[in-house]
């Protein structure tokens, strides 16, 4: 049982879902299963892209500033060219 990941609190899970949806819609993050490690790397990379675009501190982490921007009302066109 110790090899399973630690259950994430609901709030954390909501933040993660919000971020996934945001990055998928606006930063071209592919949907679907890609294995845990790969998905996490990709997610960090996309978070960095989004932070760079919004001139936030580029940490690759879902810090408060980043989440605050993700919760703002905005245009539905992606920020990166498709």
């Amino acid at each position: 049982a110790h090899t399973l990941a630690k259950p994430i609190a609901n709030e954390e899970k909501d933040k993660l879902l919000l971020a996934e949806k945001y990055l998928r819609r606006y930063y071209d993050m592919p949907a679907g299963l890609q294995g845990e490690r790969k998905a996490s790397d990709l997610m960090h990379q996309k978070i960095r892209e989004m932070q760079a675009f919004f001139r936030l501190e580029v940490t690759g982490k879902l810090d408060d500033n980043t989440l605050e921007v993700m919760e703002m009302a905005r245009c539905g066109v992606p920020d990166v060219a498709e």
């Binding site: 819609r25 606006y26 675009f53 919004f54 001139r55 921007v69 703002m72 009302a73 905005r74 245009c75 539905g76 066109v77 992606p78 920020d79 060219a81 498709e82």
Partner: protein, 370 residues
């Protein structure tokens, strides 16, 4: 600023748009105005000109829809995603969709509702070829922000001008346009008024003078008769009681007594009681029977009481609602024996003021015996 890949843009600077449906949050006239003003933001700094269509397929089809609304790119309910638009191109290219689950407003500072003009100006940037900018002060920044005043930043202007160039009507000397030919089927008028029994029709730097005893209209340069007037007249009307003709151009107005300029002019049009947001009057006409002067601006009009010298209450009203059948914008208006003659582009509508309906539709230049 950013563009879409391959600098996608419209090949022709005359772009058409059509509003397919309306949000119940605002009056129809307010949506029309917000859309028109949003396009003006971009035409002011480029050669782009926008023409409104009422049927058929336009370059930019504008609609309101919720959740999945037909393009497999669903909205997300209130807040969050407000609207989206597609880059220039055929089919869905240029089309602009607004999330009907939002609350749309024409205010600039209201909580939980979004200013349609601002969001439309941003989305039309996409429809013209602009991608998102990372400059927080620019209109093309992806996050909605309340802002008042002229919405384009230097960054936006550089971006759109690198696609389409500058607005030729601003700053650069433009070769003098030829005199308009009276029987050109596409001829439209800038303004029309009576002047002591004659009819004066303004077009570009010229005017035609029609007199019952003159078989042919006489074309003259405006400045050769009225040197103080500008080269472009937007609207004009005669006040028979005072024996003066009022000429409008931009935010200024002049009064003519016959062919002489009245002392104390030009004055600002806002002295009539128009809001400061009005920067140009499209058409004006005095209804001799009621003593009222109607002033037409974009899709709305005001009523001015000549005797009291005040604007009547309850205005602006919608042109389309009050004068059904003539569309929602006019270039010039005349009034004769109970009939209003609305001129828009190359068409004129004979409108019965008493029975409130269009009686005849003719070519605008039929008044010039064409």
């Amino acid at each position: 600023y950013n563009h879409f890949p391959r600098d996608l843009k419209w090949k022709n600077t005359n772009v058409t748009f059509r509003i397919l449906n309306y949000t119940p949050d605002l009056r129809k006239a307010d949506v029309d105005k917000a859309v028109r003003n949003a396009f003006n933001v971009w035409s002011r700094v480029t050669p782009l000109r926008f023409k409104k269509l009422y049927e058929g397929n336009a370059d930019i089809m504008i609609s309101f829809g919720a959740k999945e609304h037909g393009d497999f790119n669903p909205f997300d309910g209130p807040e969050g995603l407000l609207a989206h638009a597609y880059p220039p191109g055929n089919g869905i290219g240029g089309d602009t969709h607004f999330d009907e689950d939002e609350t749309w407003t024409k205010d600039f500072h209201s909580k939980n509702s979004f200013n349609l003009f601002l969001v439309a100006a941003h989305e039309f940037g996409h429809a013209l070829g602009m991608a998102h900018s990372s400059d927080p002060g620019s209109l093309m920044y992806p996050v909605y922000s309340y802002g008042k005043g002229y919405p384009l930043s230097e960054d936006d202007i550089k971006g759109i001008q690198s696609l389409y160039g500058e607005n030729p009507d601003h700053g650069r000397v433009k070769p003098k346009p030829d005199a308009p030919t009276k029987c050109d089927p596409e001829l439209s008028f800038d303004a029309i008024t009576e002047l002591r029994g004659e009819t004066i029709i303004f077009k570009d730097r010229f005017y035609w003078r029609l007199h019952p005893q003159m078989p042919e209209p006489e074309q003259t340069l405006i400045k050769s008769t009225w040197p103080e007037l500008p080269n472009q007249v937007d609207a004009a009307y005669e006040n028979p009681e005072k024996d003066i003709v009022i000429i409008f151009s931009g935010i200024q107005m002049w009064a003519l007594n016959g062919y002489n300029l009245v002392e104390g002019y030009p004055k600002y049009i806002h002295k009539l009681g128009l809001p400061k947001t009005v920067r140009k009057i499209d058409a004006a006409v005095n209804i001799r029977d009621t003593g009222k002067t109607l002033l037409f601006v974009d899709e709305e009009y005001w009523s001015y009481d000549e005797e009291k010298g005040t604007m009547d209450s309850g205005y602006p009203r919608s042109i389309e609602n009050d004068f059904p059948g003539i569309g929602d914008e006019v270039d010039a208006v005349a009034y004769h024996y109970g009939y209003l003659y609305f001129y828009h582009e190359h068409i004129q509508f004979e409108y019965s003021y008493s029975s409130r309906k269009v009686m005849r539709i003719m070519r605008a230049n039929s008044i010039l015996n064409c």
